[in-house]
């Protein structure tokens, strides 16, 4: 096959993938209110964004939720990965299976099942219900990230530590954790982003007491076009780009 054909094709698909994003960024600096026509360069939508108190409030709520969900899921996910990697126990297959199901099942199925649970046990919908839900859907991603790192690692190190008299806990803390640190950070960043981006699950398990950013955006974009959303989208894009580059940098650096 000629070389230019596949290359042209790849380029074409990338252009299609990026056109909407570029349009969004360009229009976020558009002075015009109608949103479709170019009215000159302006930062007015960024200004409008930061003058909108409900929006800024939702932003902080989302950041705090993503921070806490990523942290909790990294702790539990890392411990799970360690347990799956090192221990033999009953029901290991079932545990693996449940994680796989969480990862594969449509978000909406997870969302309604959690809503049913929260209402049954009488949990007030708000920060806590959001946190529990977000940790649950982030968990499998942390587990596979950490497992991948563990599977490519020299088994003689933990054995040596144990021969030298270290307890399981000490060995985990002093030998395993440093080895899996890059995967741990990458998993944390992934969880953070997943949480920040989630719409489907949050729609079901959030209450009026804790408004988060994706739901705020959702209610804005359902009716017509809102230029502020362009500005917000651009900020979110830059933010996730930084996060993604950070996680790639961590993973690549750790391989050296």
């Amino acid at each position: 096959m000629t070389r230019w054909l596949p290359r042209t094709y790849l380029t074409l698909v990338y252009i299609l993938l990026y056109v909407p994003i570029v349009v969004l960024v360009v229009f976020s600096f558009n002075e015009s209110r109608t949103g479709y026509a170019w009215g000159g360069l302006s930062l007015r939508w960024y200004e409008a964004l930061f003058n909108n108190r409900a929006m800024v409030n939702a932003m902080w709520n989302s950041l705090w939720l993503a921070l806490s969900a990523a942290t909790v899921s990294t702790v539990i996910g890392t411990l799970t990965a360690l347990a799956l990697h090192r221990y033999r126990f009953r029901g290991k297959k079932l545990l693996n299976g449940m994680l796989f199901v969480v990862m594969m099942s449509p978000e909406i199925v997870l969302a309604i099942s959690l809503l049913a649970l929260f209402l049954l046990v009488g949990l007030q919908l708000g920060y806590v219900s959001l946190l529990l839900a977000h940790v649950t859907f982030c968990l499998p991603f942390v587990v596979i990230t950490v497992m991948a790192r563990l599977s490519g690692f020299d088994e003689s190190l933990p054995e040596a530590a144990r021969d030298l008299g270290a307890s399981d806990f000490t060995m985990t803390r002093t030998v395993l954790i440093p080895v899996i640190m890059p995967a741990l950070l990458a998993g944390w960043l992934l969880g953070f982003t997943l949480s920040l981006d989630d719409v489907v699950v949050s729609t079901f398990v959030s209450g009026p007491s804790y408004e988060i950013l994706p739901l705020r955006i959702y209610s804005m974009v359902r009716v017509g076009l809102k230029p502020e959303v362009n500005a917000l989208g651009t900020l979110l894009l830059v933010f996730s780009l930084v996060m993604l580059m950070l996680s790639q940098w961590i993973l690549v650096r750790s391989k050296r």
Partner: protein, 285 residues
Amino acid sequence: MHSIMQQPFKNAVLILVWGWLLFLVLAPNLLVVGASVMTRDPVSFLSLPLNLDAYRQLFDPLYLDVFLHSLYMAAMTTLVCLLIGYPFAWALSKVGKQRQLVLIFLLIVPFWTNSLVRTYALKLILATNGLLNSALMSVGLIDEPLQLLYTEGAVIIGLVYLLLPFMILPLYSVFEDLKQELLLASHDLGAGRLSTFVHVIVPLTLPGVLAGVMLVLLPAMGLFFVPDILGGSRNLLVGNVIKNQFLDARNWPFGAAASIVLTVTMAFLMFAHRLSKRRIGEEGA
């Protein structure tokens, strides 16, 4: 071997993990199954007696239409993703290693970007006085704007745009594993390009195709915000029905039954995926 001193740590970890999964994964899913066979109740959402009314309601012509239409849009989305993604993954696997890393990075950037915002960006392009219509009119291809937004096509475009990377990544990984020797052998045995493609490449990449189909088809039935933003009220997904039943109509048994349809579809696809992988494993051994 584990001494008694090591047990507490292990036990603590296992209790935490099991507790989390049993309480927040297994129990809620059982609840949904339970809800689907109960009776609708305006006050407490659910009540006895047990019955299969909710499942019967799925076949009510009104909802059956919505389901079939949703399935059609999801199938089209999957097909378009496959048609774009298969050659894309193939081409990607042929690129030099260093460049491949950059290209994959570019592919997952959108995945890390807020999906609502990306769906909204499509609206800017597809709207009646949006960019696409303006561009087509200015070059004189059309005289008046086309109705692109609030159509079936807009929903499919939106879903493809959000889900394409999920088709490409599993396909890319099977193309990466494709052994060049097998292709050479096929060539040496006298097979032409088409024959090699049909008898060697397609079967070996089938697990990737099925994984991609699974990752695209199911979300394509559930992502209710895409029709909300791009599709108008006539192009609903199963996800919209589930959401309406749970949050607005308060008909939990019906919403639960609809979500079980999605779960069963998932189980079926997972089974097919396993089967195809096992077959290749046996042939390879």
